[in-house]
């Protein structure tokens, strides 16, 4: 007993792990916050507006050049948004199922944070992978298993809110997730079939997936799988044009109609975290992870190469987050029946046929 206590309290490894975890969560939260800013700014640009450009703080505003730049770019807006959510009255409506109502946003956010454990970001000069859980070879399986749990938050929110619009949103969200999970899994299977050899130990590891893309990126050899996976990410993260659970025009606000203040903020962060996780998965599996260009895995050497790799990953992530916004203002929302038709009658057959085609190809090639 005493030994366990000593190990728990004094072991530096434990503290180190917690510190790393907190660091990644803080980074995720700030990227989410700034994705909200990107969403607002990019929507404004697309619609011919300027977007948030006023928020400032006296402590920053006095700095001659930087202060105005930060205000014009809206860089202080996320802090103001967060503080607003934090200080608003946290109302608990009388007609909701209280325990589940409070639990729902937590359940929506938790899977997004948990999946981060398996996400590799880059490679140290020593060859070690920058990730929270090095050496785990279940990688992508774990991520799919956990990230799909996010829909429980939506379902629970819709049910516990005890009102028809949230309920409809939750039902739609659950149906949509099930419909697109299949096609997503099949498209991923195609890629893993190609890159992992059967006698390999960590066949499902994302790290070996990235290493396999040393030369050509997977998107070049698996364009159909990449497309199916991309569409499925949009559906799984409930982004336009697939934002069935939210669809504010026909369902008021969907599953979070009855939510306000910080609980709504958590749903918001959860949605953006899922976007980040989804785009990271796409980058790792199809866009060469931290490789800078196809056929150009490393540039420079040592810590410089590591930083460049991290930068490449971050750049690709930013592009994808922008792409989510870009698509949002391009394609109008599908009707519910269209969503189901695309999922079951287009994406699933395409994914199956794609897989079959690769089966036959490997069988012929031997």
């Amino acid at each position: 007993m005493e030994k366990i206590l000593t190990d728990l309290v004094l072991s530096p490894l434990w503290y180190f792990a917690v510190a790393r975890g907190l660091l990644v969560i803080v980074v995720l939260m700030s990227i989410s916050a700034y994705t909200v800013l990107l969403e607002r700014k990019a929507s404004a640009w697309i619609q011919g507006r300027i977007g948030p450009n006023r928020t400032n703080h006296p402590l920053i505003a006095w700095i001659p050049f930087v202060g105005t730049f930060l205000a014009k770019g809206g860089f202080i807006q996320p802090a103001a948004d967060g503080l607003k959510f934090l200080f608003k009255e946290d109302a608990l409506p009388g007609h909701v199922r209280k325990v589940y109502y409070v639990l729902a946003p937590i359940i929506a956010l938790a899977p997004a944070i948990v999946t981060l454990v398996m996400l590799p970001f880059g490679q140290l000069p020593s060859g070690q992978i920058i990730t929270l859980c090095p050496g785990a070879d279940v990688g992508v399986l774990f991520m799919f298993a956990i990230s799909s749990l996010g829909v429980y938050g939506i379902a629970l929110a819709g049910w516990s809110a005890n009102s028809k619009f949230p309920f409809l949103g939750a039902v739609r969200g659950a149906a949509q997730l099930i419909s697109y999970e299949l096609a997503m899994g099949l498209s991923v299977l195609t890629v893993f079939l190609a890159t992992a050899s059967p006698d390999e130990n960590n066949a499902l590891s994302l790290v070996s997936m990235v290493n396999a893309q040393n030369g050509a990126w997977n998107i070049l050899f698996h364009p159909v799988a990449a497309l199916v996976f991309l569409i499925c990410i949009f559906a799984e993260t409930n982004r336009h044009p697939f934002d069935m659970p939210e669809s504010e025009t026909d369902l008021v606000g969907g599953f979070h109609t009855e939510y306000g203040a910080f609980k709504f903020g958590i749903f918001f962060v959860a949605e953006y975290s899922h976007m980040i996780i989804g785009s990271s998965l796409f980058i790792l599996m199809f866009l060469g992870g931290w490789h800078i260009l196809p056929w150009m895995p490393t540039v420079g050497s040592g810590i410089f190469a590591t930083l460049l790799g991290l930068g490449a990953f971050f750049f690709k992530l930013c592009f994808f987050l922008f792409f989510f916004v870009w698509v949002r203002w391009t394609i109008p929302r599908f009707r519910y029946d269209q969503v189901m038709r695309i999922g079951w009658r287009v994406l699933l057959p395409v994914a199956v046929l794609n897989l079959l085609a690769y089966f036959i190809w490997y069988a012929i090639r031997g």
């Binding site: 990019a42 640009w45 619609q47 011919g48 497309l227 870009w326 203002w329």
Partner: protein
């Protein structure tokens, strides 16, 4: 009867995949994003007010600085929301403008009632009241939203016409008086 038959050709495979359309749409939004924003940052930037804009009603003076209003009260009577209140007054005999019939002692337009219809300007026989370019009007109390005479002339300024109806009348009267002698 020219009937034009529109051939409904079936969608090609590329069209049925929906992807070329999406890419074209992405290009449209991208082009839109590259255009400069149309936002007018209001308190910092002001819109260009057209010449015949009908903003806050004001009173004007003529080029000699004489107030044009003769307090006939037509505007007060025509005003649909009854925003105008005029207290007519006499012009003292010693004044330069003694030849003018009358002048308002007090002239109030309650901007909380005014509906900017412009009927006062339409009805005024003296061209003394005009809806001009001021469009942004704020106040902290109900009293401050009532424009009194001084404020109305301050907002109105001078009407640059050289009509001088009352001066001509005076001249004519003097001429006639001179001719009789």
């Amino acid at each position: 009867m020219a009937i034009k038959i529109v051939v409904r050709r079936p969608l090609t495979f590329a069209e049925r995949t929906y992807l070329p359309q999406i890419i074209a749409g992405l290009k449209v939004t991208w082009d839109n994003m590259m255009r400069p924003p149309v936002t007018l940052q209001y308190p910092d930037e002001r819109p260009a007010i057209p010449k015949n804009y009908r903003g806050v009603p004001t009173l004007v003076a003529d080029t000699n600085g004489r107030e044009k209003c003769v307090s006939c009260q037509l505007c007060e009577f025509v005003c649909p929301p009854k925003a105008i209140r005029i207290t007519p007054g006499e012009i003292s005999e010693t004044s330069d403008n003694a030849h003018v019939e009358k002048a308002p002692k007090e002239f109030e337009i309650n901007m909380l009632r005014c509906i900017y219809c412009g009927l006062c300007q339409e009805v005024c026989p003296e061209e003394a009241i005009f809806l001009q370019s001021q469009y942004s009007l704020t106040g902290l109390t109900r009293e401050s939203m009532v424009n009194n005479k001084a404020k109305l002339y301050e907002l109105g300024g001078t009407l640059p016409d050289n009509h001088h109806k009352w001066d001509k009348k005076k001249e004519e009267a003097e001429k006639q008086a001179g001719g009789q002698h």
